[in-house]
Amino acid sequence: MIRRVLLVTLIVVTALLLQSTAFSELRLLGVRPELLYLVTIVFALLGGPNEGALVGFAAGMAQDFMLHEPKGITALTLTLVGYAVGMGRHLIVSSSPLVPTMVVALASFTGVVFYEVTAFLLGTFGETPAAGAKIALLSAAYNAVLTPILYPLVRRVAEGSVARRVVRF
């Protein structure tokens, strides 16, 4: 359990660092990926709603502490994204590698739009509707492009940290 918490922390911190450094220079039409959304969605797909919500809350709080917006909006968004994706994973019947990519794209887009609406309701969203739509679409597309690279990595780490049942004869 402790090992898993440490690994999730490591993944979240790495995503946060990469998003604020490397990916701030590798933008897609001026928009960077939302790596913490991607991490949350992948954990939710692999671990279910409980794990999705917990990882989402932790990742969201980590991002909120780096922002100059009211803290808690990203945590709220990612908790709900993680929970929804975790609950919906039972509906996925195909084993196609495209499925995680599409789930990531759809969930990232919905999550970013939810964040924008929440920030707008709190009076802290300064973008125009067109800019907001562009950011939601492009960050979702960028996340989808990164999924085939990051999904196997996160899955490997996530599955490697699960405590295995010991069978003694």
Partner: protein
């Protein structure tokens, strides 16, 4: 088939708890503002992550520049395999040399700028570029320990033309966050050099800045008019930025016959996507005497 009800119910309780926790945090942070415990926790996270951001940036910046360079060279696709390898190798070396040369030139500019500007400044390296698509903020590697404080102006450019980057919005012991002038929360008082008309510039995100309160017609034929920061004082409160810092060039005039005032769009002269070195202008706090002046 019986459906196990324990896990979904526990997930619902968990998510309800986490959502309540998030709403509580939003409310607390909203009420307490930048001086509350949550903001201080954010500062602590910034302090802890700044050295790591610095390390990651120093590794990834040349790689990122190399890939950006390759993206602009479609003719490479026509080369054969061995030439491609040679070209890629040469490009890597050239990109690194150009990067080093650019850094060197920029450092020379910053040193020259520091010698000519009053007040003096602290040179800083950009170690991170915000974390969200909605926040136009950069993180620099200088903090309170170097004399950097909130609301200090940050510039770049050469000794011939200091260009405004933004202002410090939060500072920790070893790093500081700088709100860029293109951020939608940023505003600067500026003056158009050709008409000497003063207006208020506001950030528009990825688009050009918008300058309001313009009353005189502007002629955009020929060299575009430039916009500089301007000193002002309202009710004993002085403006945030020192005067004569170049902000940008007027790109477009928004015509509206029904209004007495008009607006213009101002294209910033700073390329915010490739900032590496900046200079923080060390200005005393309003209740603090300037360097060399006796304390009251």
């Amino acid at each position: 088939m019986a459906v196990p009800r324990g896990r979904p119910r526990s997930a619902r309780f968990l998510v309800a708890g986490l959502v309540s926790c998030s709403l509580l945090i939003i409310t607390l942070d909203y009420r307490q503002g930048p001086d509350g415990p949550l903001a201080r926790a954010g500062d602590a996270v910034h302090t802890a992550l700044a050295p790591m951001q610095q390390a990651v940036t120093s590794v990834t910046r040349p790689v990122g520049n190399f890939f950006s360079g390759l993206a602009n060279l479609p003719s490479l696709a026509e080369e054969n395999r061995s030439l491609k390898e040679q070209v890629a190798q040469l490009l890597t070396e050239r990109a690194l040399v150009e990067e080093l040369q650019r850094d060197l030139d920029e450092l020379y500019d910053i040193v020259g700028l520091r010698q000519t500007l009053d007040p003096a400044g602290v040179p800083a390296v950009v170690i991170a570029n915000g974390v969200s698509n909605f926040d136009r903020v950069i993180t620099i590697d200088k903090g309170e320990a170097d004399g950097v404080g909130v609301d200090m102006a940050v510039v770049t450019g050469s000794s011939g033309s200091a260009r405004l980057v933004g202002r410090v919005v939060s500072v920790t012991a070893n790093a500081a966050d700088v709100e860029l002038i293109i951020d939608r929360d940023a505003s600067v008082a500026g003056v158009i050099d050709s008409t000497r008309e003063v207006g208020l510039l506001t950030g528009q995100g990825e688009e050009d800045l918008r300058m309001d309160l313009i009353t005189r017609p502007l002629d955009l034929t020929g060299t575009p008019p430039q916009v500089f920061t301007v000193a002002y004082e309202v009710g004993g409160q002085q403006g945030r930025y020192p005067p004569h810092l170049l902000i940008g060039e007027v790109a477009r005039v928004f015509e509206d016959d029904n209004q007495l005032q008009t607006s213009v769009s101002v294209r910033p002269v700073v390329d915010f996507s490739s900032l590496t070195f900046v200079l923080v202008l060390i200005t005393p706090a309003p209740d603090e005497p300037a360097a060399g002046e006796p304390a009251a």
